[in-house]
Symmetry: C2
Subunit: 238 residues, 2 copies
Amino acid sequence: MIYELHYWPTIQGRGEFVRLALEEAGVRYADVARSDDGEDAMLAFMDNERVKTPPFAPPFLKARNLLIGQTANILLFLGEKHGLAPAPSAGRLWTHQLQLTIADLVAEVHDAHHPIAVSLYYEEQRREAKRRAHHLIKERLPKFLGYFESVLERNARGPKYLVGGRLTYADLSAYQLVDGLVYAFPKAMARLSKRFPLLMALHARIPQRPRIAAYLASGRRIGNNEDDIFRRYPELDE
Amino acid sequence: MIYELHYWPTIQGRGEFVRLALEEAGVRYADVARSDDGEDAMLAFMDNERVKTPPFAPPFLKARNLLIGQTANILLFLGEKHGLAPAPSAGRLWTHQLQLTIADLVAEVHDAHHPIAVSLYYEEQRREAKRRAHHLIKERLPKFLGYFESVLERNARGPKYLVGGRLTYADLSAYQLVDGLVYAFPKAMARLSKRFPLLMALHARIPQRPRIAAYLASGRRIGNNEDDIFRRYPELDE
Protein backbone atom coordinates (compact mmCIF):
# COMPACT_ATOMS: atom_id res chain seq x y z
CA MET A 1 0.00 0.00 0.00
CA ILE A 2 1.12 3.55 -0.75
CA TYR A 3 -0.35 6.38 1.30
CA GLU A 4 -2.03 9.13 -0.65
CA LEU A 5 -1.57 12.58 0.81
CA HIS A 6 -3.93 15.24 -0.50
CA TYR A 7 -2.92 18.84 0.06
CA TRP A 8 -2.51 22.13 -1.78
CA PRO A 9 0.46 21.69 -4.11
CA THR A 10 2.26 25.03 -3.79
CA ILE A 11 2.51 25.61 -0.04
CA GLN A 12 3.90 23.82 2.99
CA GLY A 13 0.82 24.73 4.98
CA ARG A 14 -0.75 22.24 7.32
CA GLY A 15 0.19 19.43 4.94
CA GLU A 16 3.84 19.90 5.84
CA PHE A 17 3.32 18.53 9.34
CA VAL A 18 2.10 15.33 7.69
CA ARG A 19 4.85 15.29 5.07
CA LEU A 20 7.54 15.51 7.76
CA ALA A 21 6.04 12.55 9.63
CA LEU A 22 5.78 10.48 6.46
CA GLU A 23 9.35 11.31 5.51
CA GLU A 24 10.74 10.50 8.96
CA ALA A 25 8.77 7.24 9.01
CA GLY A 26 10.37 6.38 5.68
CA VAL A 27 7.10 5.18 4.18
CA ARG A 28 6.06 5.48 0.58
CA TYR A 29 3.47 8.11 -0.18
CA ALA A 30 2.10 9.96 -3.15
CA ASP A 31 1.71 13.70 -2.74
CA VAL A 32 -1.32 13.52 -5.00
CA ALA A 33 -2.14 17.17 -5.64
CA ARG A 34 1.42 17.80 -6.84
CA SER A 35 1.05 15.39 -9.74
CA ASP A 36 -0.62 16.32 -13.04
CA ASP A 37 -4.35 16.81 -12.49
CA GLY A 38 -3.70 15.97 -8.85
CA GLU A 39 -5.33 19.09 -7.50
CA ASP A 40 -8.48 18.29 -9.47
CA ALA A 41 -8.37 14.79 -8.03
CA MET A 42 -8.17 16.23 -4.53
CA LEU A 43 -11.08 18.60 -5.08
CA ALA A 44 -13.16 15.91 -6.77
CA PHE A 45 -12.60 13.76 -3.71
CA MET A 46 -13.95 16.48 -1.46
CA ASP A 47 -17.05 16.95 -3.59
CA ASN A 48 -17.75 13.26 -4.13
CA GLU A 49 -21.03 12.49 -2.39
CA ARG A 50 -20.23 8.81 -2.27
CA VAL A 51 -17.44 9.53 0.19
CA LYS A 52 -19.03 8.71 3.53
CA THR A 53 -16.39 10.36 5.71
CA PRO A 54 -15.64 13.56 3.82
CA PRO A 55 -12.83 15.81 5.00
CA PHE A 56 -13.80 19.42 5.68
CA ALA A 57 -10.52 20.62 4.18
CA PRO A 58 -7.10 19.34 3.14
CA PRO A 59 -4.84 17.83 4.28
CA PHE A 60 -6.31 14.38 4.22
CA LEU A 61 -4.65 11.01 3.96
CA LYS A 62 -5.89 7.94 2.19
CA ALA A 63 -4.63 4.68 3.68
CA ARG A 64 -6.28 1.74 1.96
CA ASN A 65 -9.97 2.18 2.74
CA LEU A 66 -9.35 4.72 5.48
CA LEU A 67 -9.77 8.41 4.73
CA ILE A 68 -8.38 10.59 7.51
CA GLY A 69 -8.72 14.35 7.78
CA GLN A 70 -7.51 17.01 10.23
CA THR A 71 -3.74 17.35 10.52
CA ALA A 72 -3.48 16.33 14.18
CA ASN A 73 -5.74 13.37 13.57
CA ILE A 74 -3.59 12.17 10.65
CA LEU A 75 -0.55 12.42 12.91
CA LEU A 76 -2.34 10.51 15.66
CA PHE A 77 -2.85 7.73 13.10
CA LEU A 78 0.69 7.84 11.70
CA GLY A 79 2.18 8.09 15.18
CA GLU A 80 0.55 4.85 16.24
CA LYS A 81 1.29 3.10 12.98
CA HIS A 82 4.92 4.04 12.56
CA GLY A 83 6.31 4.44 16.06
CA LEU A 84 6.24 8.22 16.01
CA ALA A 85 4.49 8.37 19.37
CA PRO A 86 4.59 6.26 22.53
CA ALA A 87 2.25 3.28 22.44
CA PRO A 88 0.87 3.54 26.00
CA SER A 89 -2.22 5.67 26.39
CA ALA A 90 -0.60 8.31 28.62
CA GLY A 91 2.24 9.07 26.21
CA ARG A 92 0.00 8.85 23.18
CA LEU A 93 -2.42 11.43 24.63
CA TRP A 94 0.38 13.72 25.82
CA THR A 95 1.96 13.74 22.36
CA HIS A 96 -1.40 14.51 20.80
CA GLN A 97 -2.04 17.27 23.34
CA LEU A 98 1.21 18.96 22.32
CA GLN A 99 0.28 18.60 18.65
CA LEU A 100 -3.09 20.23 19.26
CA THR A 101 -1.37 23.11 21.04
CA ILE A 102 0.99 23.53 18.09
CA ALA A 103 -2.07 23.53 15.82
CA ASP A 104 -3.62 26.30 17.91
CA LEU A 105 -0.59 28.51 17.41
CA VAL A 106 -0.47 27.71 13.69
CA ALA A 107 -4.06 28.95 13.40
CA GLU A 108 -3.16 32.13 15.28
CA VAL A 109 -0.18 32.74 13.01
CA HIS A 110 -2.42 32.33 9.98
CA ASP A 111 -4.92 34.77 11.38
CA ALA A 112 -2.19 37.34 11.98
CA HIS A 113 -2.21 38.00 8.23
CA HIS A 114 -5.89 37.15 7.82
CA PRO A 115 -7.61 38.52 10.93
CA ILE A 116 -10.89 39.34 9.18
CA ALA A 117 -11.56 36.63 6.59
CA VAL A 118 -9.78 33.93 4.59
CA SER A 119 -11.90 35.01 1.62
CA LEU A 120 -10.25 38.44 1.53
CA TYR A 121 -6.77 39.25 0.29
CA TYR A 122 -4.16 40.26 2.82
CA GLU A 123 -4.19 43.72 1.27
CA GLU A 124 -7.84 44.08 2.23
CA GLN A 125 -7.12 43.49 5.93
CA ARG A 126 -3.69 45.00 6.25
CA ARG A 127 -4.48 47.46 8.99
CA GLU A 128 -6.14 44.80 11.12
CA ALA A 129 -3.26 42.42 10.39
CA LYS A 130 -0.77 44.95 11.70
CA ARG A 131 -2.73 45.22 14.93
CA ARG A 132 -3.12 41.48 15.35
CA ALA A 133 0.50 40.67 14.48
CA HIS A 134 1.62 43.09 17.19
CA HIS A 135 -0.28 41.10 19.82
CA LEU A 136 0.90 37.81 18.32
CA ILE A 137 4.53 38.85 18.69
CA LYS A 138 4.18 40.59 22.03
CA GLU A 139 1.91 38.15 23.81
CA ARG A 140 1.11 34.93 22.04
CA LEU A 141 4.51 33.84 20.70
CA PRO A 142 6.21 34.28 24.08
CA LYS A 143 3.39 32.42 25.79
CA PHE A 144 3.30 29.47 23.38
CA LEU A 145 7.05 29.18 22.83
CA GLY A 146 7.65 29.54 26.57
CA TYR A 147 5.22 26.69 27.07
CA PHE A 148 7.09 24.37 24.73
CA GLU A 149 10.38 25.41 26.33
CA SER A 150 9.01 24.43 29.72
CA VAL A 151 7.81 21.09 28.37
CA LEU A 152 11.36 20.35 27.18
CA GLU A 153 12.75 21.52 30.51
CA ARG A 154 10.45 19.29 32.50
CA ASN A 155 10.95 16.15 30.42
CA ALA A 156 12.30 13.59 32.88
CA ARG A 157 14.20 11.93 30.03
CA GLY A 158 16.02 15.14 29.18
CA PRO A 159 15.38 18.15 26.97
CA LYS A 160 16.17 16.57 23.63
CA TYR A 161 12.59 15.61 22.79
CA LEU A 162 9.21 16.92 23.85
CA VAL A 163 8.00 13.49 24.92
CA GLY A 164 10.17 10.90 26.65
CA GLY A 165 13.50 9.81 25.21
CA ARG A 166 12.57 9.32 21.56
CA LEU A 167 11.42 11.39 18.63
CA THR A 168 7.67 11.85 18.17
CA TYR A 169 5.65 13.62 15.53
CA ALA A 170 5.28 16.50 18.01
CA ASP A 171 9.03 17.18 17.70
CA LEU A 172 8.77 17.28 13.92
CA SER A 173 5.82 19.65 14.20
CA ALA A 174 7.62 21.87 16.71
CA TYR A 175 10.50 22.06 14.24
CA GLN A 176 8.14 23.09 11.45
CA LEU A 177 6.44 25.65 13.68
CA VAL A 178 9.70 27.31 14.74
CA ASP A 179 11.03 27.13 11.20
CA GLY A 180 7.97 28.94 9.90
CA LEU A 181 8.16 31.58 12.61
CA VAL A 182 11.84 32.26 11.90
CA TYR A 183 10.93 32.70 8.25
CA ALA A 184 7.92 34.92 8.87
CA PHE A 185 9.22 37.07 11.72
CA PRO A 186 13.04 37.13 11.45
CA LYS A 187 13.50 40.19 13.64
CA ALA A 188 11.08 39.17 16.35
CA MET A 189 12.42 35.64 16.44
CA ALA A 190 16.05 36.78 16.57
CA ARG A 191 15.12 38.54 19.78
CA LEU A 192 12.66 36.01 21.21
CA SER A 193 14.64 32.88 20.44
CA LYS A 194 17.23 33.72 23.09
CA ARG A 195 14.60 32.98 25.70
CA PHE A 196 13.93 29.51 24.33
CA PRO A 197 17.31 27.77 23.96
CA LEU A 198 15.98 24.22 24.29
CA LEU A 199 13.32 24.75 21.66
CA MET A 200 15.82 26.37 19.31
CA ALA A 201 18.21 23.47 19.87
CA LEU A 202 15.44 21.05 18.92
CA HIS A 203 14.81 23.15 15.81
CA ALA A 204 18.49 22.91 14.93
CA ARG A 205 18.65 19.17 15.55
CA ILE A 206 15.70 17.91 13.52
CA PRO A 207 17.21 18.78 10.08
CA GLN A 208 20.23 16.66 10.97
CA ARG A 209 18.18 13.49 11.01
CA PRO A 210 19.15 11.62 7.84
CA ARG A 211 15.67 11.23 6.39
CA ILE A 212 14.66 14.80 7.21
CA ALA A 213 17.96 16.11 5.82
CA ALA A 214 17.35 14.20 2.58
CA TYR A 215 13.80 15.49 2.42
CA LEU A 216 14.70 19.13 3.03
CA ALA A 217 17.36 18.96 0.30
CA SER A 218 14.95 17.36 -2.16
CA GLY A 219 12.46 18.91 -4.55
CA ARG A 220 9.71 17.47 -2.39
CA ARG A 221 10.15 20.27 0.16
CA ILE A 222 8.22 23.30 -1.04
CA GLY A 223 9.92 26.62 -0.34
CA ASN A 224 8.47 29.27 1.93
CA ASN A 225 6.23 31.71 0.12
CA GLU A 226 3.61 34.36 0.72
CA ASP A 227 0.62 32.17 -0.11
CA ASP A 228 1.47 30.00 2.85
CA ILE A 229 0.60 30.09 6.56
CA PHE A 230 3.99 31.53 7.51
CA ARG A 231 4.42 34.68 5.42
CA ARG A 232 7.25 37.15 5.49
CA TYR A 233 5.54 40.52 5.45
CA PRO A 234 8.19 42.88 6.83
CA GLU A 235 5.55 45.33 8.01
CA LEU A 236 4.19 42.69 10.39
CA ASP A 237 7.57 41.83 11.90
CA GLU A 238 8.84 43.75 14.92
CA MET B 1 -11.87 7.37 41.28
CA ILE B 2 -13.57 10.71 40.64
CA TYR B 3 -12.50 12.71 37.60
CA GLU B 4 -11.37 16.24 38.26
CA LEU B 5 -12.34 18.72 35.58
CA HIS B 6 -10.50 22.03 35.69
CA TYR B 7 -12.06 24.91 33.81
CA TRP B 8 -13.09 28.54 34.25
CA PRO B 9 -16.02 28.54 36.65
CA THR B 10 -18.34 31.15 35.13
CA ILE B 11 -18.56 30.18 31.47
CA GLN B 12 -19.55 27.16 29.41
CA GLY B 13 -16.58 27.71 27.13
CA ARG B 14 -14.54 24.81 25.89
CA GLY B 15 -15.07 23.03 29.20
CA GLU B 16 -18.73 22.50 28.31
CA PHE B 17 -17.86 19.98 25.60
CA VAL B 18 -16.19 17.92 28.31
CA ARG B 19 -18.99 18.46 30.84
CA LEU B 20 -21.57 17.17 28.36
CA ALA B 21 -19.55 14.01 27.74
CA LEU B 22 -19.04 13.40 31.46
CA GLU B 23 -22.75 13.93 32.13
CA GLU B 24 -23.85 11.64 29.31
CA ALA B 25 -21.39 8.98 30.47
CA GLY B 26 -22.93 9.22 33.92
CA VAL B 27 -19.57 9.27 35.65
CA ARG B 28 -18.70 11.11 38.84
CA TYR B 29 -16.60 14.22 38.43
CA ALA B 30 -15.65 17.28 40.39
CA ASP B 31 -15.87 20.59 38.55
CA VAL B 32 -12.93 21.79 40.58
CA ALA B 33 -12.76 25.48 39.73
CA ARG B 34 -16.40 25.93 40.71
CA SER B 35 -15.75 24.93 44.31
CA ASP B 36 -14.37 27.34 46.94
CA ASP B 37 -10.77 28.19 46.10
CA GLY B 38 -11.14 25.90 43.11
CA GLU B 39 -10.00 28.48 40.59
CA ASP B 40 -6.83 29.05 42.62
CA ALA B 41 -6.31 25.29 42.65
CA MET B 42 -6.63 25.21 38.88
CA LEU B 43 -4.17 28.04 38.36
CA ALA B 44 -1.72 26.61 40.89
CA PHE B 45 -1.82 23.38 38.93
CA MET B 46 -0.87 25.18 35.75
CA ASP B 47 2.05 26.97 37.44
CA ASN B 48 3.33 23.95 39.33
CA GLU B 49 6.74 23.12 37.92
CA ARG B 50 6.56 19.60 39.25
CA VAL B 51 3.77 18.83 36.81
CA LYS B 52 5.58 17.05 34.01
CA THR B 53 2.80 17.27 31.43
CA PRO B 54 1.45 20.78 31.97
CA PRO B 55 -1.64 21.89 30.10
CA PHE B 56 -1.26 25.05 28.03
CA ALA B 57 -4.74 26.20 29.07
CA PRO B 58 -7.93 24.86 30.63
CA PRO B 59 -9.88 22.68 30.26
CA PHE B 60 -7.85 19.81 31.59
CA LEU B 61 -8.94 16.59 33.19
CA LYS B 62 -7.28 14.69 35.98
CA ALA B 63 -7.93 10.96 35.91
CA ARG B 64 -5.89 9.22 38.58
CA ASN B 65 -2.28 9.94 37.58
CA LEU B 66 -3.22 11.07 34.08
CA LEU B 67 -3.44 14.77 33.32
CA ILE B 68 -5.07 15.44 29.96
CA GLY B 69 -5.36 18.81 28.25
CA GLN B 70 -6.91 20.07 25.00
CA THR B 71 -10.67 19.63 24.73
CA ALA B 72 -10.64 17.25 21.76
CA ASN B 73 -7.93 15.17 23.40
CA ILE B 74 -9.95 14.86 26.62
CA LEU B 75 -12.91 13.71 24.55
CA LEU B 76 -10.75 11.20 22.71
CA PHE B 77 -9.86 9.75 26.11
CA LEU B 78 -13.41 9.81 27.49
CA GLY B 79 -14.82 8.44 24.25
CA GLU B 80 -12.64 5.36 24.46
CA LYS B 81 -13.19 4.92 28.18
CA HIS B 82 -16.95 5.34 28.31
CA GLY B 83 -18.26 4.12 24.98
CA LEU B 84 -18.81 7.58 23.56
CA ALA B 85 -16.99 6.70 20.34
CA PRO B 86 -16.64 3.54 18.25
CA ALA B 87 -13.84 1.27 19.42
CA PRO B 88 -12.39 0.35 15.98
CA SER B 89 -9.70 2.64 14.70
CA ALA B 90 -11.66 3.90 11.68
CA GLY B 91 -14.67 5.06 13.69
CA ARG B 92 -12.53 6.42 16.49
CA LEU B 93 -10.52 8.56 14.08
CA TRP B 94 -13.61 9.71 12.20
CA THR B 95 -15.30 10.81 15.43
CA HIS B 96 -12.16 12.69 16.44
CA GLN B 97 -11.90 14.30 13.01
CA LEU B 98 -15.41 15.69 13.41
CA GLN B 99 -14.57 16.95 16.90
CA LEU B 100 -11.50 18.76 15.59
CA THR B 101 -13.61 20.37 12.88
CA ILE B 102 -16.10 21.51 15.52
CA ALA B 103 -13.16 22.91 17.50
CA ASP B 104 -12.03 24.85 14.43
CA LEU B 105 -15.40 26.55 14.15
CA VAL B 106 -15.51 27.25 17.89
CA ALA B 107 -12.19 29.08 17.55
CA GLU B 108 -13.55 31.07 14.61
CA VAL B 109 -16.66 32.02 16.58
CA HIS B 110 -14.48 33.20 19.45
CA ASP B 111 -12.39 35.29 17.11
CA ALA B 112 -15.49 36.92 15.67
CA HIS B 113 -15.70 38.99 18.87
CA HIS B 114 -11.94 38.98 19.45
CA PRO B 115 -10.38 39.30 15.99
CA ILE B 116 -7.33 41.27 17.17
CA ALA B 117 -6.33 39.93 20.58
CA VAL B 118 -7.69 37.98 23.55
CA SER B 119 -5.90 40.45 25.78
CA LEU B 120 -8.08 43.34 24.59
CA TYR B 121 -11.68 43.99 25.53
CA TYR B 122 -14.34 43.48 22.91
CA GLU B 123 -14.95 47.22 22.97
CA GLU B 124 -11.37 47.77 21.82
CA GLN B 125 -11.86 45.68 18.68
CA ARG B 126 -15.49 46.34 17.91
CA ARG B 127 -15.02 47.62 14.40
CA GLU B 128 -12.87 44.66 13.43
CA ALA B 129 -15.33 42.32 15.12
CA LYS B 130 -18.15 43.68 13.02
CA ARG B 131 -16.17 42.99 9.87
CA ARG B 132 -15.13 39.52 10.92
CA ALA B 133 -18.60 38.52 12.16
CA HIS B 134 -20.02 39.48 8.77
CA HIS B 135 -17.73 36.96 7.06
CA LEU B 136 -18.38 34.37 9.75
CA ILE B 137 -22.12 34.57 9.15
CA LYS B 138 -21.97 34.91 5.38
CA GLU B 139 -19.25 32.38 4.61
CA ARG B 140 -17.99 30.28 7.47
CA LEU B 141 -21.20 29.25 9.24
CA PRO B 142 -22.85 28.05 6.01
CA LYS B 143 -19.70 26.16 5.07
CA PHE B 144 -19.19 24.44 8.43
CA LEU B 145 -22.86 23.77 9.17
CA GLY B 146 -23.38 22.55 5.62
CA TYR B 147 -20.50 20.18 6.17
CA PHE B 148 -22.03 18.67 9.30
CA GLU B 149 -25.40 18.46 7.54
CA SER B 150 -23.77 16.48 4.73
CA VAL B 151 -22.08 14.17 7.24
CA LEU B 152 -25.49 13.38 8.74
CA GLU B 153 -26.94 12.92 5.27
CA ARG B 154 -24.24 10.50 4.22
CA ASN B 155 -24.29 8.37 7.37
CA ALA B 156 -25.11 4.88 6.14
CA ARG B 157 -26.81 4.17 9.48
CA GLY B 158 -29.16 7.10 9.09
CA PRO B 159 -29.09 10.81 9.90
CA LYS B 160 -29.73 10.53 13.63
CA TYR B 161 -26.08 10.59 14.66
CA LEU B 162 -22.91 11.92 13.06
CA VAL B 163 -21.10 8.59 13.36
CA GLY B 164 -22.78 5.21 12.86
CA GLY B 165 -25.94 4.25 14.71
CA ARG B 166 -25.06 5.36 18.22
CA LEU B 167 -24.36 8.57 20.10
CA THR B 168 -20.76 9.79 20.22
CA TYR B 169 -19.14 12.76 21.89
CA ALA B 170 -19.17 14.46 18.48
CA ASP B 171 -23.00 14.57 18.62
CA LEU B 172 -22.88 16.19 22.05
CA SER B 173 -20.37 18.70 20.77
CA ALA B 174 -22.42 19.43 17.66
CA TYR B 175 -25.37 20.10 19.97
CA GLN B 176 -23.31 22.52 22.05
CA LEU B 177 -21.99 24.24 18.94
CA VAL B 178 -25.43 24.79 17.43
CA ASP B 179 -26.83 25.79 20.80
CA GLY B 180 -24.17 28.44 21.19
CA LEU B 181 -24.70 29.74 17.68
CA VAL B 182 -28.47 30.02 18.19
CA TYR B 183 -27.77 32.01 21.35
CA ALA B 184 -25.13 34.27 19.81
CA PHE B 185 -26.68 34.88 16.40
CA PRO B 186 -30.46 34.41 16.76
CA LYS B 187 -31.35 36.26 13.57
CA ALA B 188 -28.72 34.69 11.39
CA MET B 189 -29.45 31.22 12.73
CA ALA B 190 -33.22 31.62 12.30
CA ARG B 191 -32.50 32.11 8.63
CA LEU B 192 -29.59 29.67 8.20
CA SER B 193 -31.04 26.80 10.19
CA LYS B 194 -33.65 26.11 7.52
CA ARG B 195 -30.85 24.86 5.31
CA PHE B 196 -29.65 22.35 7.90
CA PRO B 197 -32.69 20.37 9.02
CA LEU B 198 -30.79 17.24 10.05
CA LEU B 199 -28.35 19.17 12.18
CA MET B 200 -31.15 21.15 13.80
CA ALA B 201 -33.02 17.90 14.49
CA LEU B 202 -29.91 16.55 16.21
CA HIS B 203 -29.73 19.76 18.23
CA ALA B 204 -33.36 19.28 19.27
CA ARG B 205 -32.88 15.62 20.15
CA ILE B 206 -29.84 15.75 22.42
CA PRO B 207 -31.57 17.64 25.31
CA GLN B 208 -34.18 14.86 25.40
CA ARG B 209 -31.64 12.32 26.52
CA PRO B 210 -32.37 11.69 30.21
CA ARG B 211 -28.92 12.49 31.57
CA ILE B 212 -28.50 15.56 29.40
CA ALA B 213 -32.01 16.76 30.29
CA ALA B 214 -31.20 16.37 33.99
CA TYR B 215 -27.91 18.19 33.51
CA LEU B 216 -29.38 21.11 31.58
CA ALA B 217 -32.07 21.57 34.23
CA SER B 218 -29.51 21.48 37.03
CA GLY B 219 -27.41 24.22 38.55
CA ARG B 220 -24.38 22.54 37.02
CA ARG B 221 -25.20 24.01 33.60
CA ILE B 222 -23.85 27.54 33.47
CA GLY B 223 -26.06 29.98 31.59
CA ASN B 224 -24.98 31.75 28.41
CA ASN B 225 -23.25 35.04 29.06
CA GLU B 226 -21.08 37.65 27.41
CA ASP B 227 -17.80 36.47 28.91
CA ASP B 228 -18.18 33.21 27.04
CA ILE B 229 -17.21 32.01 23.58
CA PHE B 230 -20.75 32.37 22.26
CA ARG B 231 -21.77 35.96 22.97
CA ARG B 232 -24.98 37.71 22.04
CA TYR B 233 -23.84 41.04 20.70
CA PRO B 234 -26.82 42.23 18.63
CA GLU B 235 -24.58 44.41 16.48
CA LEU B 236 -22.70 41.32 15.27
CA ASP B 237 -25.86 39.39 14.34
CA GLU B 238 -27.32 39.76 10.84
